[in-house]
Symmetry: C2
Subunit: 361 residues, 2 copies
């Protein structure tokens, strides 16, 4: 299978995304991006036993000295304490400004490692090797890094671009089905917000995507990254269109926060959140009943939860208020005018938001 490459064009912060099988054994993809032959690989207790040895061998055989930092697994550890574990290990190993940090794992490892890279010695180089579908199509593109705070998700962070992303689809074979589905939720999102043709394609190919067909998986990743890259290039710091990528996220973050980080997977919360946003979009007269049904069917094929947890309207509103997209006290939401067309607005009928939230219970 040929390696496909997508270039994210951000001036002097541009970088390539390589998508293919068995990339962990290809040192020639990594070496040109190292300033110095020293790397620190950050992974977790789930991913490291599966892929660390392969990557370490690839690099050491190419003469690279490797430090391994293995963290506990889970969203619950995406916090300042774990971040300090990384800093401590880097300092104890006398890492320097030219030491490259490599994230080997899913979104949590990517966010933590990217944020450590953004802030260690005021910034060191960073490579992403995402091993989940979610991180391959979402968090590895766009330079968002950060950690959670007890009062909210991703409250602390930085925009910091990697030098390189390697999306190795071989790593998806060991991914639990629930996590794979959570990744598919973000794939569907690109269709919903800006790419109606891709949504159609997903309706046709969802069974193959769920069966891990190589060609279909690689294409879904490529097209997702392409969509995300287009948005990020146009709006690196999320002043405009980039915010549309957060379809379902304001509701979704409220769900994750309420249930405790890690109980619902991010993609699951986004799927249920997207259906809440769709419900509100429908009440506003934008999405048709038929479009809602198509979304519903596609999420079901992807084995994603459609129903948000039953919480009071007040609790939902309080948690949504914590979202970073709040401006001047108004909850701004990404809503849909059609499949393939999303809009960010604070100018919607608030009683309809209440109706959407009431309908959950």
């Amino acid at each position: 299978m040929k390696v496909q490459t997508l270039e994210v064009s951000l001036g002097d912060r541009s970088y390539p995304i390589h998508i293919g099988k068995g990339l962990l054994t290809q040192a020639d993809l990594i070496l040109p991006h190292l300033k110095r032959k020293q790397v620190a690989i950050v992974s977790n207790t789930t991913v490291a036993p599966l892929y660390m040895e392969t990557l370490v061998n690839t690099l050491t055989q190419a003469g690279v000295s490797v430090i391994q930092i293995i963290l506990p697994d889970g969203e619950a550890y995406k916090n300042s304490e774990t971040l300090n574990t990384i800093y401590d290990a880097l300092l104890k190993a006398h890492c320097e400004r030219n030491t490259t940090l490599i994230a080997l794992g899913g979104g949590v490892i990517g966010d933590l490692t990217g944020y450590a890279a953004a802030t260690f010695l005021r910034g060191v180089p960073f490579i992403q090797i995402p091993t989940t579908l979610l991180s391959q199509v979402d968090s590895s593109v766009g330079g968002k890094t950060g950690i959670n705070h007890p009062l909210g998700k991703n409250m602390i962070g930085a925009f910091y671009q990697p030098k390189l992303v390697l999306a190795d689809i071989s790593t998806l074979t060991t991914l639990p089905q629930r996590e794979y589905s959570a990744g598919v939720a973000e794939v569907i999102k690109y269709g919903l917000i800006r790419d109606a043709d891709f949504f159609d394609w997903l309706e046709t190919n969802m069974h193959l995507l769920m069966a891990l067909d190589d060609q279909v998986v690689a294409y879904a990743i490529y097209r997702s990254c392409q969509n995300k890259a287009e948005v990020v290039v146009a709006d690196e710091h999320e002043a405009g269109e980039r915010a549309l990528l957060n379809l379902g996220h304001t509701f979704g973050h409220a769900i994750e926060n309420a249930m405790g980080y890690g109980v619902w997977l991010h993609g699951e919360a986004v799927a249920a959140g997207t259906m809440l946003a769709a419900d509100l979009s429908h009440r506003l007269g934008w999405l048709s009943t038929q479009e809602i049904a198509r979304m519903d069917a596609l999420f079901k094929l992807a084995k994603l939860p459609l129903n948000a947890p039953k919480l009071s309207v007040e609790r939902y509103l309080y948690l949504m208020q914590l979202d970073k997209k709040v401006a001047e006290g108004q909850i701004r939401l990404v809503l849909q005018q059609a499949i393939g067309k999303a809009v960010m607005t604070a100018d919607y009928d608030k009683t309809m938001l209440n109706q959407t939230l009431q309908a959950i219970a």
Copy 2:
């Protein structure tokens, strides 16, 4: 006294530095830089009682809503715990992406607040109101922000530019003499590394500078900021010339670290460190005996310590090895070829460094 303005030209990250008396009462200098009429002022228990009320009145009378965050005073608090105090206060007050953080205090407050601004919600606007001479001539220009780590100073941080700097020389009247002298150390540094004329001017005007003569103080700040801004504009992320600003710092950080942060003031450690660098530069045949004597005399007039604490050579080398300027295991040092001409190098005779360190004891 007329307000003097210096523009730091960094493309879309450019910002003005205003230097003058009584700037804390001039709302018109601040208002154009606020995206939203909400600010969080971060200060400490020493500075807040002196200047917080004035600044708060200025802003509230202009219709700005103000949150006050008051931290304990001292380098010992420039850590992740204090940083979390800031995050907590911002989140509890529901601060948003358009809330501006204002640092009212010295270098520690500036570094902490700047780093909080760089990382809160992945970046919010930031204004510096430095109230010490050191922060007016040094840390408020150049965008370096960060915190200390138990294993080293400024190990965690980000490059993040303020929207505005207000250097109000009225605030220097309440500054303890030791801290004022520590600021003068950095003023002298600009003369030493790149501005021999300024060094000459300082030799002539040091008694007026030490007597807080308005015109002389304002000129010294302006010319220091100008020197620093020129260097920063040429090299924002410290790949080249900017490193020269660290004259005396590798030795100085070792001194601060060994004695415990805050026991020696940063400027004091830099002064003693600069004399160590001068000693080594002399041994290398670069600085003349006469130049060393001039430096010695000027530091003495500024009431700065010339003698580094007595530690073993091994201890010094170990602590210097922790410095961020170490590359490929080599300790790179900023040394002087003459007054007004510094150079960064790892290519010096290591036995001479040992001799310099042995001479301390």
